[in-house]
């Protein structure tokens, strides 16, 4: 039987001795920085990149060249904070010695006089193929802009050939904009930038993954410390191993929740306005709805307990971190699987494969939560998910406690799996 006063004493020691360390505060401040660095920053940089580019346009058709020039000169409205693309176009007529001319243009690109060369063949209206020569063919924004301009001009030329009058052209070729509208579970519509929802899902799922792994690892380290320094011998007379394990897991978990609280405060005061300002999220309040936050914490708690009990058992079974390394690697890889499967879920959150994967108890904390961020699952699935996790957790606690009880006072050689299995059976 667990004596709560004992559990509470152990818990308090675990909590205060960790929260008081510099390492806790450093990691608390560094993780948000790391997340911004890994997820938000690249997209921000890519979106913001502007500048001036010189493009040579190789075509015999002067009208076409003029139109493309005009099209590229037209200012395109861009999101706030995103740099403008200034594209200078130089029209070049094909010479008879085509090969030599091509070679010269290539040299100009290599000498950075030109960013690139657009080669429009004679039969461009029928073939619909245009070459773009450049040293950098992954400059998505620039190429997208060129592609768009050439396509519009060629389309207009074809329409003229087909007999559409000049007056009607503007009307016919007017652009269409796709507005993604996410339906929330209550049936209301949330309008957002396409990247925002994804970034948020990714960041939150990543957070669960990271914290479950880090805090599970802390539990294992703590158990190994108690074992290798023989503290266990000193306190075991007044404390059952199960009480020690429970106190440790609760204490370390409370440290995790504290870290979340700090992050939440930081996010509301700094990050959310920042994301809104960058145009990544149009409606921060909707993405971080209170309901989602509650589930976020719930999934962290369940995920943490599921993995922490496993980590505690590993810590108790082995004598040193080196010995435990192998098992720990296996668990870490297991934790990483849902992370890899994220894209399956994002692609189609309600497909049977997504539903099944997200209901597997060790995957649920990440995958089921991920589904919640993209398309809220039906209530019966939520109930099933938590029921499965609870049942698995109860079984895991039993198995881990059995391993812990025997292992924590066992020294000497590294136990075999057969021996560990016997500890579980005989308890």
């Amino acid at each position: 039987m667990l004596r709560l006063s004992k559990v509470r004493t152990v818990m308090r020691r675990e909590y205060t001795s960790r929260v008081r360390t510099k390492a806790f505060w450093i990691s608390t401040l560094l993780v948000p920085v790391a997340i911004v660095a890994f997820t938000v920053l690249p997209s921000v940089v890519m979106k913001r990149q502007g500048g001036t580019f010189s493009i040579a346009l190789l075509t015999s058709d002067g009208d076409l060249a003029g139109e493309i020039q005009a099209e590229l000169a037209r200012r395109v409205e861009s999101a706030p904070g995103v740099g403008a693309l200034n594209i200078r176009v130089e029209w070049i007529q094909p010479r008879d010695d085509a090969d030599r001319q091509r070679e010269e243009l290539k040299q100009r690109v290599l000498h950075k006089e030109l960013t690139g060369v657009l080669v429009l063949p004679q039969e461009v209206l029928t073939s619909g193929r245009v070459e773009y020569l450049s040293t950098n063919v992954t400059a998505f924004r620039l190429i997208g802009r060129l592609d768009n301009a050439v396509e519009r001009v060629v389309l207009r030329a074809r329409l003229r050939t087909a007999g559409i009058s000049e007056e009607r052209l503007a009307d016919v070729t007017r652009g269409v904009k796709l507005d993604p509208v996410r339906l929330t579970s209550s049936g209301s519509e949330a309008r957002e930038a396409l990247g925002g929802s994804f970034a948020m899902s990714y960041v939150l799922t990543f957070l669960i993954y990271l914290t479950v792994m880090i805090y599970g690892f802390y539990v294992m380290r703590g158990v190994l410390e108690e074992k290798s320094s023989r503290i266990v011998e000193v306190i075991v007379a007044n404390l059952s191993p199960t009480e020690l394990m429970a106190g440790k897991i609760f204490g370390v978990g409370a440290v995790g929740l504290t870290q979340y609280l700090i992050w939440a405060v930081l996010a509301m005061n700094l990050a959310a306005p920042g994301l809104l300002g960058l145009g990544l999220v149009e409606n921060g309040g909707d993405l971080l709805s209170p309901k989602l936050l509650v589930f976020f914490v719930l999934f962290f708690v369940f995920g943490y307990f599921l993995f922490a009990t496993v980590y505690a058992a590993i810590g108790a079974a082995f004598n040193s971190e080196e010995e435990a390394q192998q098992m720990q690697t296996v668990i870490s890889m297991f934790l990483a699987i849902p992370f890899v499967l994220m894209f399956v879920i994002l692609n189609d959150p309600d497909a049977p494969i997504s539903v099944i994967l997200s209901l597997l108890p060790f995957f649920s904390p990440m995958l089921f939560f991920l589904r919640m961020t993209v398309a809220f699952p039906p209530t019966w699935q939520i109930i099933l998910c938590f029921a499965l996790m609870s049942m698995t957790l109860l079984a895991m606690v039993r198995v881990s406690a059995a391993i812990y009880r025997v292992g924590i006072l066992m020294y000497g050689k590294k136990p075999t799996f057969k021996e560990i299995a016997r500890w579980v059976r005989t308890s």
Partner: protein, 307 residues
């Protein structure tokens, strides 16, 4: 004086690990308020016995009672235990650590704080209260652990090799604390392989070897059983001359005198008379065998019996 039941009683306790019979049919009766020595060479089964009392491992057979009641997890809280394998949380502050140990052992937090501070004061560690454990010397850490073992005023204190690694000054301090506890009526079970320490502190003892009790009783009883067999002799004669005296089985020379061992069937008076007739005697007296001699002989006899 009426007969008192033993405070801690082990009856026919046995424990086997895989191939080794660690403890075999061991019975111990530790009187209330005594300092009881559990003695024996390394690997004799002392620590296994203590771990069974602490319920870290359970005996295969036999019973253990405290105050006449079978020992369980709740009763175990009344025991203070300093294990042979000592450990503290290295990063924790000394005072915080003692408070933690006090709380774990059932004291309310405020009470634990008061007692922890008092113990640090008493052991001369008051100015180290705010230091991390790892900054303390090994001897100081052991004192902290001792305080942690007794902070909840247990009625029985078990100390497994408490003097290992202590300097003479700290050893003295710890001995004084043990004596003071015994004076307050606390029962102390002390395991050691350093016999002079046991001789100084214990009123009762039990020698175990290869998992069995081979000698037990009060210090006087144990001594009495061996003492009549030896004499301390000061003589100008050589050891060979003494050895030639009828009834003498062994002669050990030390520091200008001899310890003469007498055969079992011969009376001490006969041998003294024979000695006086044959050699020049300056002094003769009964030799008080040290615990060390007694135990070395008992262990030798035990091994001889096993062959």
């Amino acid at each position: 004086m009426s007969w008192q039941p033993p405070h801690l009683h082990l009856a026919h306790v046995s424990k086997r690990y895989d191939q080794v019979q660690a403890v075999h049919d061991l019975s111990l009766a530790v009187p209330r308020g005594a300092v009881y020595g559990l003695l024996g060479p390394n690997g004799a089964g002392k620590t296994t016995t203590i771990r069974m009392i602490m319920r870290i491992t359970l005996p295969d057979s036999g019973t253990i009672t405290l105050g006449g009641v079978p020992l369980d997890d709740r009763l175990r809280e009344r025991i203070g235990y300093l294990p042979e394998e000592r450990g503290l949380y290295r990063k924790m502050k000394v005072l915080d650590h003692l408070i933690f140990l006090g709380e774990i052992r059932g004291l309310p937090r405020d009470e634990a704080r008061t007692r922890a501070a008092a113990w640090l004061d008493r052991l001369g560690l008051a100015e180290k209260a705010g230091r991390a454990v790892e900054e303390l010397s090994k001897g100081m850490q052991q004192k902290v652990q001792f305080a942690g073992a007794v902070i909840h005023s247990p009625e029985l204190v078990i100390l497994d090799e408490p003097f290992t690694g202590l300097d003479p000054l700290a050893t003295r301090q710890l001995k004084d604390e043990i004596a003071a506890m015994a004076a307050r009526g606390v029962t102390v079970l002390l395991s050691t392989h350093v016999l002079p320490q046991a001789e100084e502190l214990c009123q009762h003892l039990c020698l175990i070897n290869r998992g069995r009790a081979i000698l037990s009783g009060s210090l006087a009883e144990v001594r009495g059983r061996f003492n009549r067999h030896a004499l301390r002799v000061v003589s100008s004669a050589g050891p060979a001359q003494l050895r030639a005296v009828p009834g003498v089985t062994e002669v050990h020379a030390r520091e200008g005198e001899y310890v003469v061992t007498i055969a079992n069937h011969v009376s001490v008076a006969t041998v003294i008379r024979a000695l006086a007739e044959r050699v020049e005697l300056h002094a003769v007296e009964r030799h008080e065998a040290t615990l060390e001699e007694i135990f070395l002989r008992a262990v030798e006899d035990d091994h001889a019996a096993a062959v």
